[in-house]
Subunit: 125 residues, 2 copies
């Protein structure tokens, strides 16, 4: 992810609530072009559930065997959706023995969240 | 939007930071089915920029004439993208004289943001 995108989703405007980057000022063509594929990757019910199953699984990672068991879909279909999420940079994976394990790449969902919504950047005393 | 979805994106867990709904527990099939079309609507660079142009425009609304001027696209193409955003419930519009004006439906982006990211629900003294 570029420095430009990181800067727009992590606005530095002091303490307290700030408006969402998307609302503060118009997104540039480059920023929108970087964000759209990430939203496209999560714009599918199966992929949203896969992300959520992985993220909420004990230890923050899930075996592909845990994931396929949650759907009435074939293993190749689940693998396809996992590949889309991985290619978009939302998740990563590693083979350990028989199974492949998946986890969320840190910060990606938070960055998407921060683009869309206002953030409270610090507690106010 | 259903009460079920509203409840998952507005978790009540006391003061301070809470984890993102998508990370706290697996999204249900129904929840994922409601969220996916909203993410799909914003999963396009032109639609992301349109949303941002509307949201960041003075007074929180923009004339279609302001929007078409920002793109090297035909008016029918811009109209198509605005229609997709409106059908998904992200924006609404009203004709006033010659022009149609658009604004963001309140709360929709915030709800999408809240599904993906942790929220600080209250300031801590």
């Amino acid at each position: 992810m570029s420095k430009q995108l990181l800067s727009i989703v992590n606005p530095v405007d002091g303490e307290g609530a700030c408006c969402a980057p998307l609302v503060c000022e118009p997104l540039s063509e480059a920023e929108a072009g970087e964000l759209a594929p990430l939203f496209k990757a999560i714009a599918d019910p199966v992929r949203l559930r896969l992300l959520s199953l992985i993220a909420s699984h004990e230890g923050g990672e899930a075996c592909v065997c845990d994931l396929t068991a949650a759907f009435e879909l074939t293993a190749p279909t689940i693998s396809h959706h996992l590949k889309v999420l991985k290619q978009a940079g939302l998740i990563d994976s590693e083979r350990r023995g028989t199974w492949v394990y998946y986890w969320l790449n840190p910060g990606v969902l938070e960055r998407l969240s921060a683009v869309l919504g206002p953030r409270v950047t610090a507690a106010v005393s």
